[in-house]
Symmetry: C2
Subunit: 201 residues, 2 copies
Amino acid sequence: MTTSPARTRLSPAARRAQLLELGAHLFATRSVDEISIDVLAEEASVSRGLLYHYFGSKQDFRLAVIRHAVEDLVEKTAPPAEGEPIERMLASLGVYVDYVLANLTLYRSLVRAAAGGTDEIRALYETGRFALTDRIFREDAEGQILTDTPQSRLVVRGWSAMTEEMVLTWADDPSVMTRDELLAVLALSLPALVGTSLPDE
Amino acid sequence: MTTSPARTRLSPAARRAQLLELGAHLFATRSVDEISIDVLAEEASVSRGLLYHYFGSKQDFRLAVIRHAVEDLVEKTAPPAEGEPIERMLASLGVYVDYVLANLTLYRSLVRAAAGGTDEIRALYETGRFALTDRIFREDAEGQILTDTPQSRLVVRGWSAMTEEMVLTWADDPSVMTRDELLAVLALSLPALVGTSLPDE
């Protein structure tokens, strides 16, 4: 940091957003449990009082950091507006993989916290997962990638769990396959899966 | 229960196994956290002292019940010795789906506990998952179903996460597709996935 955020004149909303950005960098390599006002205060030279003012409580701060990370992931993985469906899927998955790698400790702990932890964290995780997969069914300039049926929603949910599991496992040992091979498996598997599930279409 | 297990003459190993069987029935509809010596003692009219004698402690009893459930799942889902690979896979998956349905509360809570909970429970869960997927690579009378490579191991791990997610989601709303359709998606998806991942073979 070359400038201290506490000394910059900003609107309250912009200051809060700036603090969350700082938090995003700081907590990418820490677990959900380690997200704390104390750490941000210390590492970014911001007063604890200011952080409590903006975020309310330790737990609200933790949830705000997680929400920011989830929204950031959803935003960054938006597929490009144009191109073949498979190319757009590959681009989106590439950003997803890079995001998970860059935030590996936080992401892994979020998956665990969502599975085993509090309802609020699980809700944030599910919101993110929904946003990441729902776009597969939304109409856009290029049309829907998949037909929106309860069956294909179920398959996409399974595919989403598979994607997360494979990316997190691959991150532990990237020598198993190249990043491009991983992306190809993930992107091609979705039409392959839907092909197995909708034999009547 | 028409007979009380405490009054039947059995070897210690057989008595312990019988108590675990009782526990398996009793805790199928309860969560991991609810597995307790007190509940089994009350519902099966067995003395607490006897249960502590066989299982050591509350936590050891909980782990023994989970281990028994995992081993039971692995044993019951062993594919038939003969038949086409896809038929054997369908048979095994059919048992898996029925087992999850019959033990839904316990299974769902085990997945959560494994993700978020103690190392011992996670280890039991991972052991079961390994046993369920490793057999796909083992030689048997009909040969391996898949070539054993680090790439196909990664894909099978993803497929396994997908299977679990889809079965648990489907269990909440089985009207989405029939049991046979679900089994077909799961069984056919494995070769479809491996096909996308091994373009050079």
